[in-house]
Amino acid sequence: MIFSSSSSSPSLAAAVSNNNERRDLMSTCTDLNLGLSISLSPEQRQRLDWPPIKSLLRSTLNKLAEKADENDGRHHHSQQYGSLFVKVYMEGIPIGRKLDLFAHHGYNALVTTLSHMFTIKTTNILCPDDSDDHGRVVHSSSKDYQYVLTYQDKEGDWMMVGDVPWEMFLTTVKRLKITRAGRCHS
């Protein structure tokens, strides 16, 4: 019993001594004098009656928590600390780089990072010029680009980066490639 005799009021102490087992939760959580809260033991965490949440929500939340533990961070990039590293190759350079896509909030940021990595001017990469509210890319066809940014998707196809919303892109991208503009017809 964690209540110290000097701190608890007489009636509460009496109540506590009458209900030893049932008071476990309260007694290990609160030291009335110091107002400290002490962590629950694993058994106490598995209590079915506190906090007062309905069984269905409780079991659903348990499943959500399990899933978050299991997955590799790909589909649940809503986790704050997930990462998604993909390989990036530039045409003509055999050694590739690796890039954390989750560390970028959109296509613009991606292009900026790539241009630093491969020392190319951002304006020379065909990618987001303007994007609409949903982060989708509006290609401007009038400009001449030296490079085109492409990616390989889950199905193995090579696609132009920028056609789909950023978040959707994150779920299908497997690797990136910067190719010379002449090689893909736009």
């Binding site: 009636s11 209900n19 008071r23 939760l25 629950l40 649940h76 994150l170």
Partner: protein, 585 residues
């Protein structure tokens, strides 16, 4: 002239009697049939014998808040023309596994009585009742006009029972299955609706787990042109949802299935267009496992949304903020605390019409997690949403000052349910009890009907409640109080108190026995893990014959202790269907 009026004054009673006697019952019945509120009807029935008679003949809907307060025989004898019945069974704490299994509240005896006396029964709404497949089959076969079945937090049945309903209820307009302890063996029940069946307006099977036949569902949705509410379960994918939406653009309430799927661009566009086409959707729920990815498909639909239920979706603050910007008309919002205080700030900034907020804990059991919401989120909402009157808030820390600010901003609270998840936690800044917080609530919110308290609380909280909470009807208390005086203050002070539920508090016999007559004006009292003895319960039972006093014993506990006590008023006498673990005194 004067003498006439004098004569009238001398015999006013006979004059009045003459007037009422000439007022035909049929007319009175027609007038009374316009009354729908069951409380108004109760009042009306108490006026005089004529009104009692007229009221009982004209009543078509009945609401029974505690199924053991009355018996099927008494009910059917008094009201001969009932078409709609609402019944609530187990005490609310059964939601949290505090009530033993097989406790009771079985619907079957009621159905048998209804089959005999109300063969034209149309509607049945049950909450926390025990319902078997046999009962559902009986229901389906004995009531040809049956239209509406709503089962909330019930248990004991399986999808076989639902199959019976789907097969036989030719006039069904509403099938609403929510949060039940149901044995979900297969989704084939949905395919039992005959091809000729077109009357469905409400279909909610969101909490079932089995896959249903999606072709059957599509056909059902297509042919039920009046379908307004559709809440599907997790097994329905986004692509399937899109096909359903296309067939039901008239929907007003939608519960999606799983919101997690690899959609390429075209199906995504189709989904967005399907949502845009449903211009009447005002309530949205489901969104299981939603990844923020596809939420933009909803943005246009959110403009008219009044109720958004995200309690099964773990969104982070940024993603949620992006969504809530599109929901300016929101009145009710249910979310998980993964949105954190920042998410709640976004609510405060974007939802000026908000009336109800429920924040559930995504990870209720882990004490070390520093996520979730704090007092700051609640305060932020109170600044932005001045119409807020219903709150259910799970958090890990709170301060007296924050609550005072909150109720100052929103003095119209009718329902204030605050759950500080660590029992007995004081104000984390001052280390004082949370008495002043709830004092502020009851002093400021004169319309308060429902209150749940938490945190470190002394008897002072209950003094405040007894003194100020004059409209309080439901009070829930856990791990609080110092002495019997606390409970006594509430029993003596709250004139409108109907439901009092207490667990793990140091209230004992003196408190219990101070409320004798009070309990007859209440629906029920629940006390568990307190300091009440069997003897006190026996005394109470002896002195108050119109109360049922039931004690649930736990294994291995002291014989003299009354571990769990449930006391309720009744005209039906002690019940005879209690299991061995429940003692009726």
């Amino acid at each position: 002239m004067e003498s006439e009026s004098k004569r009238k004054k001398e015999s006013p009673n006979t004059a009045e009697l003459a007037v009422t006697a000439s007022f035909p019952d049929e007319v009175l019945e027609i007038v009374l049939s316009l009354l729908t509120s069951h409380r108004d009807r109760s009042s009306v029935s108490l006026v005089c014998k004529d009104w009692y008679r007229a009221e009982r003949w004209s009543r078509t809907q009945v609401f029974i808040g505690n199924c053991y307060s009355v018996s099927p025989e008494i009910l059917t004898r008094r009201f001969p023309n009932i078409r709609s019945v609402t019944l609530k069974g187990k005490p609310r704490f059964s939601d949290f596994n505090l009530v033993p299994p097989n406790w009771g509240a079985d619907i079957h005896a009621w159905l048998v009585a209804f089959a005999a006396k109300y063969p034209f029964l149309e509607e049945l709404r049950l909450k926390r009742m025990a319902v078997s497949d046999e009962s559902l089959e009986f229901l389906a076969s004995n009531f040809p006009n049956f239209k509406l079945l709503s089962l909330l937090s019930c248990d004991g049945f399986s999808t076989d029972g639902l199959a019976a309903i789907a097969t036989h209820c030719k006039n069904l307009t509403e099938l609403d299955i929510q949060e039940n302890g149901i044995e979900d063996s297969s989704g084939s029940w949905l395919s039992c609706f005959p091809e000729s069946f077109t009357s469905l307006e409400v279909l909610n099977f969101a909490n079932l787990t089995s896959e249903v036949n999606t072709d059957a569902l599509e056909r059902l949705v297509s042919r039920c042109k009046s379908l307004k509410v559709l809440k599907v379960n997790k097994s329905i994918s986004l692509e399937q949802l899109q096909r359903l939406l296309v067939r039901a653009p008239q929907l007003e309430e939608l519960g999606t299935g799983s919101f997690l799927q690899d959609l390429t661009a075209r199906p995504y566009a189709d989904l967005e267009s399907a949502f845009n086409n449903c211009k009447n959707i005002h309530t949205l729920s489901g969104l299981w496992e939603a990844v923020p990815l596809y939420l933009p498909a909803l943005y246009n639909s959110c403009a008219n949304l009044t109720f958004l239920n995200l309690s099964y979706t773990a969104l982070q603050s940024g993603e949620f903020a992006k969504l809530v910007v599109h929901c300016p008309r929101l009145r009710r919002l249910w979310i998980l605390d993964t949105v954190e205080d920042k998410g709640l700030e976004a609510v405060g900034s974007n939802c000026p019409l908000l009336e109800e907020l429920r924040v559930f804990p995504a990870d209720p059991f882990d004490e070390e997690i520093i996520h979730g919401v704090t007092e700051e989120g609640f305060v932020a909402v109170s600044f932005g949403c001045r119409r807020l009157h219903y709150v259910l808030y799970f958090c890990r820390q709170m301060t007296n000052a924050a609550v005072a600010t909150i109720v100052q901003n929103c003095p119209n609270f009718t329902h204030f349910r605050l759950c500080i998840m660590t029992p007995g936690l004081p104000d984390y800044l001052t280390n004082e009890p949370m008495d002043e917080a709830f004092g502020a609530v009851v002093k400021t919110c004169s319309k308060l009907q429902r209150l749940s308290v938490s945190g470190l609380l002394t008897d002072l909280t209950f003094e405040y409640i007894g003194k100020y909470a004059k409209n309080l009807e439901t009070l829930s208390v856990a791990f609080a109080g110092r002495s019997d005086r606390g409970m006594q203050c509430v029993l003596e002070g709250c004139p409108k108190l109907r439901k009092l539920e207490i667990r793990d508090c140091p209230f004992g016999n003196e408190a219990l026995l101070s409320g004798l007559e009070k309990y007859e004006s209440m629906r029920s009292l629940w006390m568990s893990a307190c300091n009440v003895t069997m003897n006190a319960c026996r005394r109470l039972a002896k002195q108050m014959p119109r109360l049922n006093v039931e004690v649930m014993k736990e294994d291995g506990s002291d014989d003299s202790q009354a571990d769990k006590v449930y006391i309720y008023r009744t005209v039906a006498g002690p019940r005879r269907d209690a299991p061995p673990s429940v003692l009726t005194l």
